[in-house]
């Protein structure tokens, strides 16, 4: 996606703008067909992206309870957020912990598993299927199952700890461990990144390794000098995708704890959701303001990662300009 992103940007820069009246009749006909084909998406983007984007920005300056028309309140919500809503900061902190933890888990563990499977192991397809399997399970069902896995008294995880001689942990009853519990649960989706990394690893030509071997590089050196650099585009893209989605973590937390205990698992989107759909009167305006802050945070993160990517992402054969 990202290299295509770059290519698109390049194309935009490179080409002179085509004007409708300069087109030949043949090209006009082609353009008409093209626009006709993409028409559904144009309608879609106006209705389901542009409209909500603008509307939520406007709503963020109003008080809106659904039953009555919105009332303009200016910057009140944004001020309230930082001065008067301790849960805003708390949920932001919790979300940061989840984003950091889960992205590291998915990238590092996924990469490690992919490396394991890339060693000409037998039954590759079987292992890949087994590791990928949990990530196709619907999240509601996963939440129900993991409520038991993480049950403080009889859960699977505490049974495991017990078996290796460790004390039991009161996962969701203990504010210090509740978020860690969700991070442990996030290993469920490691299979997805693993599958992606594995496909990337399999695409690395054998010659690179042969050349490194002739140079006398050890396994570890080959990993550091050959594999990881060649994989940086994929790592980069997956870091980006996982960060964007981790910032929006909601469903499992809504179902499993609802933010408990002590708001230790109250994430940003859960906080936003509660204001819009749980409180009475509903605070749709405040919730919109929270949504916009989230958008800005994600945007800044993406921009920073994209901007710094040139320093560490290595494109084979100059795929992008």
């Amino acid at each position: 996606m990202t290299s295509a992103f770059g290519a698109q940007l390049g194309a935009l820069r490179g080409r002179r703008r085509t004007r409708w009246r300069d087109l030949s009749p043949m090209r006009k006909r082609e353009a008409r067909f093209g626009l006709l084909f993409i028409a559904p998406w144009i309608v879609g983007v106006l209705l389901f992206a542009l409209f909500p984007f603008v509307a939520s920005f406007l709503l963020s300056f109003t008080k809106y309870n659904i039953v009555e028309p919105p009332k303009w309140v200016g910057l009140e919500h944004y001020v309230h957020m930082v001065t008067d809503d301790p849960l805003f900061l708390k949920s932001l902190r919790n979300t940061a912990v989840y984003v950091g933890g889960s992205v590291i888990i998915r990238i590092v563990l996924g990469f490690a598993l992919a490396l394991l499977l890339n060693t000409k192991v037998r039954f590759l397809g079987l292992w890949r299927t087994l590791f990928y399997l949990p990530s196709v399970v619907p999240i509601v069902a996963l939440s129900v199952i993991w409520l038991y896995v993480l049950n403080a008294r009889a859960g699977l995880l505490n049974s495991l700890l017990h078996a290796i001689g460790l004390p039991r942990v009161r996962w969701f009853a203990d504010p210090d461990y509740a978020m860690i519990a969700f991070l442990i649960m996030s290993t469920t989706w490691v299979g997805v990144t693993m599958v992606i990394f594995l496909a990337g690893l399999q695409g690395i030509p054998e010659e690179y390794y042969d050349a490194a071997k002739i140079d006398g590089a050890t396994v570890f050196q080959r990993l550091l000098r050959v594999t990881i650099p060649l994989m940086t585009p994929t790592i980069y893209l997956n870091v980006l995708i996982n960060i964007i989605s981790a910032f929006q973590v909601f469903t499992q937390i809504f179902i499993m704890t609802g933010g408990a205990p002590r708001d230790a698992t109250r994430t940003y989107v859960l906080h936003l959701f509660d204001h819009a759909f749980q409180y009475l009167p509903p605070q749709m305006g405040y919730s919109s303001a929270l949504a916009w802050i989230l958008f800005i945070i994600i945007f800044v993160f993406t921009a920073v990662i994209v901007a710094t990517s040139q320093r560490w992402v290595f494109y084979q054969g100059g795929e992008t300009d």
């Binding site: 996606m1 290299s3 295509a4 992103f5 940007l9 004007r19 409708w20 082609e30 353009a31 093209g34 006709l36 084909f37 993409i38 559904p40 998406w41 879609g44 983007v45 209705l47 389901f48 992206a49 509307a55 939520s56 709503l59 809106y64 659904i66 598993l113 394991l116 292992w127 087994l130 990928y132 949990p134 196709v136 399970v137 619907p138 999240i139 509601v140 069902a141 129900v144 199952i145 038991y148 009889a154 699977l156 505490n158 049974s159 969701f172 290993t187 997805v192 990144t193 599958v195 992606i196 496909a199 990337g200 050890t218 910032f247 909601f250 959701f273 919730s287 929270l290 949504a291 989230l294």
Partner: protein
């Protein structure tokens, strides 16, 4: 795990390859088995405990084999949860959404891939940019709009948007169309085929692999969707499986009938696992396209 020969000498003599033959292969498989257990144990326990008596579920450390097999957990769970209706609703939403997704995304992708028109690249950039928009930003205005036109408590909010293209699926499909050689199209054009015919009779059949991937992603999306049905559907006769299961269980502190909850979960998970095993390759392909290409 100690080896008979010193690992160091093997490393020095022969490098990693030799060592791996003797020892790290064993270690490797041990690791793989351990990881498989980690990934599969929760699902396995879900299945086993769905047949256990309630008091066995609470035993610590955990037990794996039901003391008595109690299939009535399933019937008990279904007393409070109309599986038939929720299953039917989910099927309906999933299939109609799937048709919408495939129809609109192939169409739009083809438009982007094969025609030249003003602002095409700029529009495509916008399409990619929408992938970054958090759902939370869309949530409230879209909800308010649906409510204004009376679509709350109908399937429309879950179905209709799929007929207007999904940025990600369009992206996948366009990449695929770009890879189809131009010669094929030219040949069809020479034969006098119209644009519509070329699309439906040449491109679509060629694009089957991409369409299958989109279908699987779309299926997963609708089947697993939770937030949409949660806020848009209130009549229990319209509930989907995800909501049915959620309503059946509840927050910690109140739940605890784990055997029935696991029976209900098993019912929801089974269809997905069946589809997964049937279309394994495409699932993996879908994941790959999502995270690898660009």
């Amino acid at each position: 795990m100690a080896a008979a020969t010193s690992p160091r000498s093997i490393l020095e003599r022969d490098g990693f390859v030799r060592l791996s033959r003797y020892l790290s292969r064993a270690l490797l498989y041990l690791l793989l088995i351990t990881m498989s257990l980690w990934f599969l144990a929760p699902l396995f326990w879900m299945f086993m405990s769905s047949f256990m008596p309630l008091d066995q579920v609470g035993v610590f450390p955990v037990q794996w084999i039901p003391r008595v097999w109690q299939p009535e957990n399933y019937t008990d769970a279904l007393k409070f949860w109309n599986f038939g209706i929720t299953f039917r609703n989910t099927m309906f939403v999933t299939i109609v959404s799937l048709i919408g997704d495939i129809g609109s995304c192939t169409l739009v992708a083809y438009g982007f891939a094969r025609f030249r028109f003003p602002f095409r690249d700029a529009l495509f950039l916008i399409l990619l940019a929408t992938l970054m928009l958090p759902f939370a930003v869309r949530l409230i205005p879209v909800y308010a709009a649906y409510e204004a036109i009376g679509w709350i408590d109908t399937f429309y909010p879950l179905i209709v948007p799929n007929f207007f293209g999904n940025a990600f699926y369009i992206f996948i499909c366009r990449q695929f169309f770009l890879g189809i050689p131009q010669d094929l199209l030219d040949a069809a054009k020479i034969d006098g085929a119209s644009e519509v015919r070329i699309f439906t009779q040449v491109m679509i059949p060629l694009a089957k692999p991409a369409i299958v991937v989109i279908a699987i992603l779309s299926f997963q999306n609708s089947w697993n969707d939770f937030l949409g049905p949660l806020i848009y559907l209130k009549d229990p006769d319209l509930h989907t499986l995800a909501i049915g299961l959620y309503k059946f269980t509840s927050l910690p502190g109140q739940g605890g009938i784990y055997n029935q909850q696991m029976a209900a979960s098993t019912l929801m998970v089974l269809p997905v696992l069946i589809v997964f095993f049937l279309f394994q390759k495409q699932f993996i392909q879908g994941a790959n396209i999502s995270g690898l290409k660009g």
